[in-house]
Amino acid sequence: MAAHPAAKAINTQEITDKARRDLLQLLEAVRGKKNLVLERSLAGTIGLFVKFSTLQEYGVDKVFFLENHNVDSSQRNVIFLLRGDNAKTVRTVAEQIKLVRSESKIDHEFSIIWIPRRTRVSDMVLEEHGVLGEATISELALYFVPLEQDLMSLELESSFSDLYLRKEPTSVFASATALMRLQKQYGLFPRILGKGDNAKRLADLLQRMRSEEDVNASSDPSKTYLTSFGLTPSSVVENLIIIDREVDFPTVLATQLTYQGLIDENFGISNNQIEVDTSVLGGAPAPPQQQSGTAQPPTAATKRKVPLDSSDKLYPSLRDANFATIGPTLNQTARRLQSDQQNIKQQDQSIADLRSFVSKLPSYQAEQASLKTHTGLAEEILKVTRSEVFSAMLEVQQNLLAGSDPSTVHENIEELIARDVPLKTVLRLLCLESCLSNGIRSRDLESFKRQILQAYGFQHILTLADLEKIGLLVPRESHRGYLNPIAGAAGQTATDWNAVRKSLNLWIDDVQETDPNDTAYVFSGYAPLSVRLVQCILQKSYLSGLVNTRPGSTPPTGGGWKGFEDTLTRIRGATVDVTQKGHDADASHARKTLRGSKEGPKVSVVFFLGGVTYAEIAALRFVSGQLEKSSGRRIVIGTTHVISGNRAVGAAVEKRKFVE
């Protein structure tokens, strides 16, 4: 089946199209040429759904970033396109407007487009600065941005630090709003499941919003007719699974071993793009790196942006594979292309042959170019993974994940610190240990802290304090939660990793990387807890089969978390299980009849609050593929943003230095 019905169930393309339409409409509303002022972090996001050339067609002359008071006055119309959550941004806008107004001779027309909504605070700040009346204000309700057909992201880069460092729930609210919009389009999620305290908050907020939606809908006169019957349970979406990142920090901290994951680790994917030296792509030998592990040598080589999405010929088939298998796959492709080329050379005698060759040429060339790019990238990554430091680091990580006594790896970590590997690498290992064993013995921790401060600078007192606040790096004493037997459903404060590792089979010794049979392939042995949680709901029999090899034991049946309640109580955070029913039984019945009585393929939405890694995405795609084969169901992933270990730890890392 080329176009699987389930693939159409939640159409992410629609979201892209709508975002583009809405933005262009707003731009069109300002007559004539205009300068566009963007928040830097938004530039990539906007680029995901509209090209710069299209913006130019709509009269955008120049694009500026909001930062250093660089808005120029070359055009009469100035449009600001910004996120409105942050009071600081608003203040900057207000200052810029004042600045331009006082310096420029022309009478400027200012417009501000707030993403995703106009906030009260923004109005208040603008008013305080006396510019509220100066600008035409509108909003662009941009919530989910599809990165792929099965992956929607809110692209809130700061949501990890907001949620866990600053404990600020803005992104919970944004997520709830985004999911609510999804519900408005596709119907209520019949069941909301989740794990983690923030997941609970999100689920509560979703229910609150649902009850408020009735009132909201009717105060918006343009929509009354559509929503006048209230929301009914969806017939395309089966359930919503919310995973709070806090439940599973180790998966983020571990080094991803899929191709896409390693690209992200080494080059940093943002908005489906990476920026690399042209030398890497040219296949030419890159300059020798002083330190294996640093992502970018500080050469002045020109950088190029490489888009990484399903428009690439080879990437979709490569990205989710374990990196160990990438080499052979690329080899095969190269051989195939070569033989194609030879065939063409032999054949090009008649005009007809020539024509068919020419018609094939573009796709052939695209494939060739893609092959070249990926070979270059793979070689670059290989340089890193072959280095001694990388294997030392990986050894520590895999030992920790497999559950060996953490004190055995302490020496290795100390050596890594002495060898001056990047700070984030060290922090990731330490945080991994801390998370897996609920803290590091305080004497060891103090010693590590001292070494880190000496090796990387005393400014990292702040880094370490922030890591502790997030709960990534803590002394063991402060966590006694999981020994408390009465905590129960209220949620644990700590996860009993040893028990969970066993009951959910988080470590698989004989993992197959080439032809994977378990999600553990993404970390070459470790099966991410977050994905296992999803499997608890969607692949009950498979998971219990893994654990219970005894014949005769029956796999758990029923929906929701059923069958895994015991395990869940050993994992930190609240457990969510809500069933949503429509107001109006008749209406939901009618909807069902309209959709056809037979149960169509259904979609599970898995939402990661606080970020998802590419390795997890790969694992979920793997699960989705299995589900699709067995029952035609499918997974769509939603997230606040895509995260990696470096980004998670980076939320805490102090970037300033003592300087004169």
């Binding site: 600053r166 803005t170 009132v215 002495a418 070494q451 000496q454 990387y456």
Partner: protein, 824 residues
């Protein structure tokens, strides 16, 4: 019953009809010629105000007071707005029946929903200085022409923002009009100004002369669909051109000396010229017809599909006869619809002809039914509606298969239309207007007229939500009722409770606006949306409740909003106490203060006794500080905060070390003339070694208790990076290494010095023989590898080596193999 065609008039090859909607509209004493009349679109309310430029007879002080009177189309007074604020320049309507009154000083008052109080806004400085000359309105905005020929546009009323358009040419504007944004290619409003002999098109960006010469144009008007423009020249000609000024479509000579008082479009294909009591209807291709049977002054109220003509005595609707109607009623029509209608009449007479008729149109009977249904929608006379529907119903019964949806829908629509056309309501909507207006907005219009019962009945009939009606009713109740607050609240709650989607917040707001704070608070408690309660709670002074509600809503923007308001209102210490017990509020204050107001945060941490946070804040300031001394001072303060407690000894020590390091680095910079500040301990060590300052590096090592292991690594890497081979060779003579010797081998090999690297191989005694062989090989010393194998007496390894080796090494290995065999 008069014939359907009685009020038809032929203009060219089309028919136009005048439908009398209502009669005896106004008080006969009302001198309509002295009034300016504007009507809301879609047969909405009509606003009358006295034209100040006309002289009128004095009738005592009572009537002299000027006012704007709002009437329904049937002449029922809806509201009288007394006016004493400056000279009115223009009065206009928006599509949702919002009344806009513009005075010459540029003040605009906007009256929403016919009942409520106005909200004012200004057209800006220029308007104030030069005065407003006139205004042109469209469904969602208007453009004002100022005394200095500047144009100011307002494109939305929910948040009006006057916007200057490109500057217009100088010279007297003889007439002008606007093309609404929805009909222009640029999607922004365009203004057509007739100046001198030509027409200028002005929008936000530019002003363009269209180069017409036949002016000056007394009147200019744009058709409802924005495609055509009609112009009235000084010599009495009417021109119709396309709105892009490319095609000249038709011309008509009025042959009247005086220019008409008004020129308006009637639908999209005819123009009406109005003089005092006479109008001309100009159809396509210059065909025209004259109506001069009005016995008093006429006003034109254009609408999307026709034009309403208003006089003291009648209100009539002039439109092109709809196609379906024409098809059925045209004299001599033999269309299926017409035959079907005739069949029903025959049936009533019990004539067999009825069946003949049906047989005649048998093949297009379905079409005939459709036409009858559609024509019924176009009729104002209930009698003819019934007849047409009866015909349709009859035709339907003969057909085997027919989808009756359209028929049923039409009967429903007609019930609604007839109800609102009733003179008490006075909304003479045509079918077309009803479809465009939408049932929802029609309900809103009924609510505006306080026809709550009809609105409710209609909503139920059409399955529309009813919450807005209840809310509006309650708001009106709050405004007008004088009963005591408790019973009023009780009454409202009783009526509204349990109704889906009812927003108590709006009602509470109305109560608050009326100054009934207590009632507002009481009503607010019934609002289901926590977030919506917040702003009002803030205005009634319930800050803490507002804060809690905001937190409950989960919307951080709201929480932040309340917090900003709170911070302004209360002393800092009590502000801190307030947020202290609310973690969400605390984190929002913290995260916003981090990049805006660190002092506030310091105070907060101090009051809350959060020492580590306070100390870290100071450290962060130290990082931001420009020079070493300031940084050191800040760190001293940071350490001082923590010193009292034992818990933080490690951190205090770190802070002290940091200061110590800075002092060291300062000294090094002075001595060695190299930058050191900003480096970490390890980096300092590395740099000292690289610059050959071993003594100093050892001092730093002991001072900061850097472990031997770490130090060895730093030294090794520093030496290798600088290729200090001699020092490294020196190290190879050492007996012990804290990190073993393998790293030395690896690092030196990595730097490419195989000879030096090989020196370290024999020292790696704890490694297995095979590994050492590998190491030798990496250095390219196969014979040494062979010796290693020989020492271990490993024949297999030697054999393997032999295959890899070349040249003399191969010979050496052969020799060793031989030796090994001999040794046996």
């Amino acid at each position: 019953m008069s014939k359907a065609t009685a009020d038809w008039t032929r203009v060219g090859d089309r028919f136009y009809r005048r439908t009398q909607l209502y009669d005896s509209i106004f008080d006969p004493d009302l001198e309509l010629e002295n009034y300016i009349v504007t009507g809301a679109p879609y047969s909405g309310a009509v606003a009358l105000y006295r034209d100040e430029s006309k002289i009128y007879s004095f009738r005592g002080s009572k009537t002299a007071k000027s006012s704007i009177d709002l009437y329904s189309c049937a002449g029922k007074l809806i509201r009288r707005i007394t006016w004493d604020k400056g000279r009115i320049v223009a009065v206009g309507w928006s599509a949702e029946e919002r009344l806009l009154v513009v005075t010459n000083d540029g003040t605009v008052r906007s009256y929403a929903d016919l009942q409520s109080d106005f909200s004012p806004f200004s057209l800006g400085h220029d308007a104030e200085e030069y005065g407003v000359t006139s205004c042109k309105f469209w469904s969602t905005g208007f453009v004002a022409l100022l005394g200095n020929n500047k144009l100011v546009a307002v494109t939305r009323y929910d948040e009006p923002r006057p916007q200057a358009l490109a500057s217009a040419p100088v010279g007297e504007v003889i007439s002008w009009t606007v093309i609404p944004p929805e009909h222009t290619s640029s999607r922004s409003v365009e203004v057509l100004l007739a100046v001198d002999g030509t027409v200028h098109v002005v929008d936000a960006a530019e002003c363009e002369d269209r180069g017409l010469q036949a002016g000056p144009f007394r009147h200019i008007s744009v058709s409802p669909n924005g495609k055509f423009i009609s112009l009235y020249t000084d010599d009495g000609e009417v021109w119709v051109i396309s709105s892009d000024f490319q095609d000249r479509l038709s011309e008509y000579e009025s042959k009247v000396k005086t220019p008409p008082k008004d020129l308006q479009w009637c639908g999209n294909n005819a123009i009406v010229l109005a003089w005092e009591d006479e109008i001309h209807l100009v159809g396509p291709n210059g065909a025209a017809s004259k109506f001069d049977d009005y016995n008093s002054f006429v006003h034109l109220l254009p609408d999307i599909d026709g034009i309403r003509v208003l006089t003291n005595t009648v209100c009539e609707f002039l439109q092109k006869v709809p196609d379906s109607t024409e098809e059925i009623y045209r004299v001599g029509s033999t269309s299926p619809g017409s035959v079907l209608l005739d069949a029903v009449e025959q049936l009533d007479k019990k004539s067999p002809k009825a069946d003949d008729n049906i047989q005649m149109i048998r093949s297009n009977l379905d079409e005939a039914v459709d036409v009858c249904v559609r024509a019924a929608g176009q009729e104002y006379s209930v009698h003819r509606q019934k007849q047409l529907l009866k015909a349709a119903s009859f035709g339907k019964s003969v057909l085997d298969l027919y989808n009756s949806d359209d028929f049923v829908d039409m009967t429903e629509v007609l019930r609604v239309l007839n109800a609102v056309r009733f003179y008490e309501i006075g909304l003479p909507l045509s079918y077309e207007q009803y479809i465009r207006l939408t049932p929802e907005r029609l309900v809103q219009r009924l609510v505006n007229r306080q026809q709550y019962l009809l609105a409710l009945k209609m909503s139920e009939f059409l399955h529309l939500p009813v919450d807005r009606i209840y809310v509006n009713w309650a708001r009106q109740k709050v405004r007008s009722s004088s009963t005591d607050e408790d019973s009023l609240c009780e009454e409202i709650v009783r009526k509204l409770n349990g109704k889906r989607g009812v927003s108590f917040e709006e009602v509470a707001h109305a109560a608050y606006d009326e100054g009934r704070g207590k009632l507002a608070a009481e009503l607010l408690e019934h609002e289901p949306r926590a977030g919506k309660q917040v702003p009002l709670l803030l205005s009634v002074g319930e800050e803490f409740v507002a804060l809690d509600k905001a937190i409950e809503s989960g919307d951080t923007d709201l929480v932040f909003y309340v917090l900003l308001n709170l911070k302004k209102k209360m002393p800092l210490s009590s502000f801190f106490r307030t947020i202290n017990s609310r973690p969400v509020a605390t984190s929002i204050v913290e995260s916003s203060a981090i990049d805006q107001d660190q002092e506030l945060l310091k105070d907060f941490y101090y009051q809350d006794d959060r020492r580590v946070d306070g100390s870290n804040l100071l450290l962060s300031e130290a990082l931001a500080a420009g020079d070493i001394n300031a940084a050191a001072d800040k760190m001293k303060m940071a350490a001082k905060l923590l010193r009292d407690s034992k818990e933080y000894t490690a951190q205090v020590a770190a802070l002290e070390d940091a200061q110590k390091l800075l002092r060291f680095q300062e000294a090094f910079e002075k001595d060695l003339n190299e930058p050191f500040v900003g480096l970490s301990v390890n980096e300092t060590l590395s740099k000292l070694i690289k610059t050959g300052n071993m003594k100093r590096s050892q001092k730093v090592q002991t001072e900061f208790k850097v472990s031997d292991k770490t130090f060895s690594w730093i030294r090794l890497r520093a030496l290798v990076s600088r290729r200090y081979w001699i020092e490294l060779e020196e190290l190879s003579k050492g007996k012990k290494s804290a990190i073993g010797w393998e790293p030395y081998f690896n690092e030196i090999l990595g730097a490419g010095n195989t000879k030096l690297a090989s020196l370290f191989i024999p020292k790696c005694t704890h490694l297995a023989m095979a590994e050492r062989i590998e190491m030798w090989l990496k250095c390219g010393l196969a014979n040494k590898a062979g010796e290693e194998a020989l020492k271990a007496k490993d024949r297999n390894a030697l054999e393997e080596l032999r295959t890899k080796a070349t040249g003399s090494a191969q010979l050496d290995i052969d020799r060793m193999i031989a030796q090994l065999q001999k040794g046996r």
